[in-house]
Amino acid sequence: MNHLLIMLPILIPLYGAILSLFFWRSVRVQQFIGILAQVCLLVATFLLLFDINENGIRTTQIGSWPAPFGITLVADLFSAMMVITSSITGTAIYLFSIKGLDKARQSFGYYPVLLILQLGVSGACLTGDLFNLFVWFEVLLICCFVLIALGGTKPQLEGAIKYVTINFLATNFLLTGIGVVYGTLGSLNLAELAVLVRMPVAHPALITMAGMFFLIAFGIKAAIFPLFFWLPASYHTPPIAISAFIAGIITKVGMYALIRLFTLIFVTDQDLTIPLFTVLAGFTMVIGVLGAASQNDFRKILSFHIVSQIGYMLMGLALFTPLAIAGSIYFIIHNILVKTNLFLISGVVARRHGTFALKKLGGIYLQQPLLSVLFFISAFSLAGIPPLSGFWGKFMLARAGFEIDSFAIVLVSLAVSLMTLFSMTKIWNEVFWKKKPDVDPLSEVMTQQQQRDLRLLHLPVVLMTGFILFVGLYAEPVVAMAQLAAEQLLNSELYINAVLKR
């Protein structure tokens, strides 16, 4: 039963996708299967979390091949928290897609591909094998390629070509890194690698080199400072349901892989990695937020903010104390929820007014007060206003920074928070507060059907805002869990013993 529990986050989306492929012609059935699968996934991941919270790290061996030889699936608190967040997001996206995405795209394999994307995320978070990690990343990346290009409008194709090229290169870096690791250490199992790097090795520099390959590969996927240019060029091009899911999840899975590898395996040369991460984190935050300040399109501002927020997650890894890693984990969870929700809100706004340009929008506070409140909560959460969720993550990171006297990076992070607030107030002023310019009375008229659809679109946004409020206002258990997860990450013995059963 326990083995099945680890497999379920992988099996449910897989079977859901296969099943919905059988009903290619009937979008209705696909929608039903998709939502059913997402709800099952949500339940399964919560059960997994409770189980891990009680009994510690869970492992299972695929095909019963013993640990260092076969493929291992490992679920610790961090991976369980990731799959839960991704299933919450997935559920919201499914609810949004039913009314929020055009029929043509829906009938062209959107639902199965989205489920396989979910499968890739679960797999990447649960695997305990380096090469298997690469395979799951390919699964989720090829789904992203398809989703970004789905529909084939001009901006989408242009975004897709940039996305595909740079991610293909990242994949090759990843494979090269895996090759170097296997060539020097002779294993691919993460737990065994963790044992091997802690013993005296012949060429410690080679391991650092492999680490740099992984940093570049996952740095591209996570959009870290000099490698982020593909993100603002492609994330805003597909329809909002697709870009919300991709923007919410994918970069954070890259960040997950970085945190996993650089706490478990590449810890031998911290004189190099910690200053490097600190510099990268600082630049990622600052460049991202400055890029956002120069934009005047709802979605593009949000896209640049993804880059800026990735900097905070990297900052936790750069400080490398238990509290800092816990801060990073909490921040990842908070950011997936908030970012997806902000994208969804921009989708609701665009559905009503047909544009994302700040100049053309306005007066939404008057027309849709509920939506404005939902945006207000999410935006202030992103900026880190207490008592909302972003505050706790930033508080943990800043405190961890002060504890080890890294004042520079903490100051940068606090200044970037202020700039984030500036961007959010800019959206608030332009979209919600100011009077709508040149109102065309005809465009304001909606049929009853349209009004009903618009109201239904609020449902996933309300759901996500509920989770954001829960994570923010009832932060204690989530923070405690993040701290436990950080302890599990930093005590590699726990992970090694759980996998190798010593």
Binding site: K154, L157, I161, L175, G179, Y182, A233, S234, T355, A357
Partner: protein, 120 residues
């Protein structure tokens, strides 16, 4: 033979980077394919080349006879080739589609999604 392979890999990597940085679509495709090839070759060589010895355990033995070639990199390579092939074919179709709707083969024309449009 083992002496030449690192140089071949290096040449393949640099040629692929040069081609990817080129503006023409076709060279982009070539670059991506070459870069995939270089990575695969690297994975293959990393397990050390042993010729004429497969890791098959005979009927009367309990372990394979030394020297045998490491089967793991070969398995990795096989997976990597299949995945790479899938992505490359997707890329080629995508580029063909881009060519059809933009009517250009110049990557420099692909800069509209980055622009800040003032009077959007």
């Amino acid at each position: 033979m083992e002496f030449i392979l690192p140089f071949i890999i290096g040449i393949l990597f640099s040629a692929s980077l040069y081609l990817i940085l080129h503006r023409h679509f076709f060279r982009l495709i070539l670059g991506l394919i070459l870069s995939g090839l270089a990575t695969n070759l690297f994975l293959f060589v990393i397990g050390r080349l042993t010729r004429g010895g497969s890791a098959i355990i005979g009927q009367d033995e309990s372990v394979a006879v030394e020297p045998f070639a490491d089967p793991v990199p070969q398995a990795l390579l096989l997976t990597a080739i299949v995945i790479g092939f899938g992505i490359q074919s997707f890329t080629i179709v995508l580029i063909k589609r881009v060519y059809q709707s933009f009517g250009t083969t110049d990557l420099d024309d692909m800069n509209t999604t980055d622009q800040i449009d003032e009077n959007h």
